[in-house]
Symmetry: C2
Subunit: 316 residues, 2 copies
């Protein structure tokens, strides 16, 4: 893999311009990078009014944003940030090809949640193109073209194919220069399982217990107990797959969650607002992989089935 | 254990005169047995208007019922049928002693659900007094003094201390003579675990999935799958405790449930109507016993915790 240098000509496309895409794309654009946003519902609005980020770290407004309805208008880029809902992943088959450089050097970095998102890209576009970017951030899309940044913001980047490459560090450097706290993961699979230690119980129980925030999960003795047990199952499944996560990591996650107050996990907000919920990457795929590796996944699977059913019942 | 003969002087007390107590006590009284009902809320009404059973097998009305507010009015009896909600079991410490004969021959038959109810009596009043009567019946208390018998009615009786005794068969015979389909269990523990194969998933998922009937559980692919897996966990926990239940029993339970239409399990009705739910005997105790025997109980425990929390949240 040859080293690549990020030059002023470095072109970025953001596919899926919801809160995550607009926030990170906006940070990069704000510092002068050429960022093309592929948009659907908010396109006209952003063309006219630009993009606005509201954040304790400083609000900012980008009056002129490069936004497009069709990836062919963007053409080949160096880096694609994929921030589509995973439930819309089938669209990538048509959205991504116009963005790929003929020399195969385009990097595809998925900012999506859960398991299977890297594999989805790798199978279709080649494993060597794929990076994962795990976003530890609380964002809300407030209205068209306006994203509220609530807390955190750290991105952990890793190569799907193995150890970090020079390009991994270069992209990390680029994000850092644009004000994003960013680290490189030595092991993307491990990073994804570590993130599930939080996502599975908190996003899951928030939905399964009828729509409650993280403070109420922690305050209830049974939900707290289940949270800890679900974390143990995730850690056990990860271990069966060769990813070592110390059990102290679960405790640290819980302590960290105590500082979040009445935060509503993003899957719960999706659920409550009638949007697609990323059931398979967050719950289904961990259950299947853990089960296939011989790990106990009874609690995970119960949660998975109850959530899948709740989403189906909600959809009527 | 000396054999005992059921004579016309045989005296029966029913403690806990809800639907189950009134139905079986009513059947026995209808055929001329001396049945004393210990009542609270319905006492005045039943004193004035008697007891009415509505059933496809024939309605009947008992205009004069022996009912009492205080067990001391009843005095010692030969058989106590215990049909209190298990959540009110602490009251048995004061309700039962006046009903016990000095020679220790009073039989205590609990018609209550789940695990731990026999032990509760055995610890307090002596194991040799205790019989379990598992009721396979769909009943609803319609209004004070009126019980609707919806379906089934079979009682399976067993000795807590071991194999059936002559008295077990004699009580069975007495129930049969009064029109109750009745069998003797060779192994009360096994019978209780067999009953849980149905009760745990159907009562549990009906509550955990937000209040749905058995037809909707069976019709949903995820809930159906969970039902089958919960049954497997119950069968595995029972096996770890020395009770062999063939897996075909789970299939038969599911087939049988298909004939029940939109039946709402009794725990769901309790939950929806704001009454106590028997969480510990139906879910908590099986989890604890299975876990202590080394059986996987992850699905059972998840269900247990979610139900316990749902009941607590309902109670506010």
């Amino acid at each position: 893999m040859k080293s690549r240098h990020i030059t002023p000509n470095f072109r970025i496309a953001v596919v899926g311009s919801g809160a995550v895409g607009c926030y990170y794309g906006g940070k990069l654009a704000r510092f002068g990078r050429e960022v093309h946003f592929l948009m659907r519902s908010d396109l006209d609005h952003v063309r006219k009014k630009g993009l606005r980020i509201l954040s304790k770290q400083g609000d900012f407004h980008l009056p002129k944003v490069l936004c497009h309805a069709d990836p062919a208008e963007i053409g080949p880029v160096d880096l694609v940030l994929i921030a589509l809902k995973t439930t819309a992943n089938a669209a990538l088959d048509t959205l991504l090809p116009p963005l790929l450089k003929p020399d195969g050097s385009t990097m595809l970095m998925t900012l999506q949640n859960g398991l299977g998102v890297d594999e989805h890209l790798a199978e279709r576009f080649g494993a060597d193109k794929v990076l994962g970017g795990l976003c530890f951030v609380c964002l809300n899309r407030v209205e068209p073209g306006v994203v509220r940044h609530i807390a955190h913001g750290h991105v952990e980047m890793g190569e799907f194919s193995g150890l970090p490459l020079p390009r991994t560090h270069e992209v990390q450097g680029e994000f850092k220069r644009c004000g994003v706290v960013c680290s490189v993961s030595e092991n993307l699979g491990l990073s994804r399982w570590r993130k599930l230690v939080w996502n599975v119980p908190f996003n899951g129980l928030a939905i399964a217990a009828g729509g409650i925030d993280v403070a109420r999960i922690l305050a209830d003795e049974d939900l707290f107990y289940l949270t800890r047990q679900l974390m143990d199952e995730i850690i056990g499944a990860a271990r069966a797959l060769g990813y070592e996560i110390p059990t102290s990591f679960a405790d640290r996650n819980i302590e960290n969650t105590r500082t979040m107050g009445d935060y509503k996990p993003s899957s719960l907000i999706d659920f409550l607002e009638g949007r697609d919920v990323e059931v398979e990457p967050i719950w289904g795929e961990p259950v299947r992989r853990g089960f296939n590796a011989g790990a106990p996944v009874g609690r995970l699977e119960t949660l998975y089935r109850l959530i899948r059913r709740a989403v189906r019942a909600r959809n009527g």
